[in-house]
Symmetry: C2
Subunit: 180 residues, 2 copies
């Protein structure tokens, strides 16, 4: 897993993939599957909708740290499985054969098997809106995986993987951050 | 364009597609391209990051209404084009050959050429976070379009369309809203 410049971290969240959020509550690591995420700015600024209904909520509130790990299409059943059980009674790394790697800035672990990992601090929690404001502090990418297709949840139990690719970077140059 | 039950509206935003947001400032309609969106709940609850840098911002603040129109892969150049010019000096419906249709609950128009349209009210604006909280009030779908692939922006000028589809609805049944 190689370092990824933070200025590119938003390009992993903007396409709207299913994300695995890791936390560490001080005694053990956990993972949740989440798709209610949003980019807030080009500088690794993100938002996430979650709340007390997720076991990870307490760790997010307590530690104010997490990692956004980006799974790929070949991990679809792992992604669904993680979403269907709770860290309250399950060691999800063990159950799904995932490898926690030490992050550089937060205690929440990276997931080795994922395409990318973004270490984040929780900048703000707006409880009334179930809203978490995140700021990326480091990012890592495994550009050598065979399958690099992101997974998109429809929300009704179906998913799509990235398909046909369109390059419109020339047409958009005037509005893209410099150097991206 | 047929009515779509509001309980399914979130399934259009959750996959993270590029969205066209229409507004009507009282004198004329406008459109912006946006991908910084998030689902907030199953009941047509959405968030969107925008701000004074978008011409549509004043209409959103003033009228507290908009339509989220969902374009498909065959509309990629329209989507990019809309994002590269401003309603301040351009009639985007005319320039891109799009047809405004009257919405049922808001003055902002539907876009006939899109796969779906979600009429929304702006429930809250958190200016400090450039955050708009939206609530869908009606939705419409054109299930007969040949191309139904959503477009996902990577953020660097490239895009992907929906590709391979996975049905995991049986495995997820226990966590899906009833009747979805």
């Amino acid at each position: 897993m190689k370092p990824l410049h933070l200025s590119r971290a938003f390009t992993l969240i903007e396409p709207g993939p299913v994300v695995l959020v890791t936390t560490h509550d001080g005694s053990r690591p956990n993972i949740m599957t989440i798709t209610w995420t949003m980019v807030r700015g080009f500088d690794a600024e993100f938002a996430l909708t979650t709340g007390p209904w997720n076991h990870s909520w307490e760790a997010l509130r307590g530690t104010r740290e997490c990692v956004l790990a980006i799974p790929t299409a070949d991990m679809i059943d792992t992604v669904v499985g993680i979403g269907m059980c709770s860290g309250a009674d399950t060691d999800k790394f063990a159950r799904f054969g995932l490898t926690p790697l030490a992050a550089s800035h937060v205690r929440a672990p990276l997931i080795k098997e994922c395409l990318a990992n973004i270490e984040c601090r929780v900048e703000e929690i707006v409880e009334r809106l179930n809203l978490l404001i995140l700021k990326g502090v480091a990012a890592h990418m495994d550009g050598h995986r065979a399958d690099q297709r992101l997974i998109h949840a429809v929300g009704d139990g179906t998913f799509t993987a990235d398909g046909e690719r369109f390059d419109r970077s020339e047409a958009m140059r005037a509005k893209l951050p410099v150097g991206l």
